[in-house]
């Protein structure tokens, strides 16, 4: 679950070529359940007013 991300972070912190912020972002995503991951993705789109096809069309997107 998302709340367990620190355990995942400890496991992956020796990964090379990534900043601490990137490792935390990946740790949070790997720790989350599939439903939590999808929710984070949808929240991101909603935060930009880009969740629905109709909102995106209004912002000039093709789809």
């Amino acid at each position: 679950m998302l709340k367990d991300w620190k355990r995942v972070y400890r496991n992956i912190r020796s990964l090379r070529g990534l900043s601490e912020e990137e490792k935390i972002m990946i740790a949070r995503s790997l720790a989350a359940t599939p439903d939590e991951r999808w929710q984070m993705h949808e929240n991101f789109l909603r935060s930009h007013g880009l969740f629905s096809h109709w909102e995106r069309k209004a912002s000039g997107f093709k789809w």
Binding site: I12, I26, P34, D35, R37, L45, S52, H53
Partner: protein, 130 residues
């Protein structure tokens, strides 16, 4: 489920504008999918692209670049629980392979992130087994 929507539910911190579903149907039978989506309150935007009642986009895919056929990939697909449903998703390594083979700019842009998450996933699973 395939492409970035499948990658997201497997732990890739990314976003996508549609949910991609690979269907084992000949493309000429797209009307079957069209009717199915319309029956659920969705709207067809193109033969493969549909807007569902909540405004989210659904993209049906009839073939995948750089991969085996549907049956060959389905056997090795990962089973996951998502939205209360048991679904099959294309594993991250196969998504990487397909994106590399299709070589569109938007696919190439995803490769470094996919590669890093594949490495992190292996590292995490290895440490959990210890």
């Amino acid at each position: 489920m395939v492409e970035m929507s499948a990658a997201i539910i497997q732990g890739v911190p990314a976003t996508t504008l549609d949910t991609d579903i690979w269907v084992d149907l000949p493309e000429r039978q797209y009307m079957r999918l069209w009717n199915l989506v319309k029956g659920q309150g969705g709207v067809g935007l193109a033969p493969t692209m549909y807007a569902l009642a909540d405004g989210s986009l659904l993209n049906f895919i009839f073939s995948m670049t750089g991969l085996r056929n549907f049956e060959g990939e389905y056997k090795h697909a990962k089973e996951m629980l998502w939205n209360g449903l048991k679904i099959r998703v294309l594993p991250l390594e196969r998504i990487y392979r397909s994106k590399k083979a299709s070589a569109r700019d938007k696919d190439m842009a995803h490769l470094p992130l996919l590669a890093n998450v594949i490495k992190a996933q292996k590292m995490n699973e290895g440490k959990n087994k210890q």
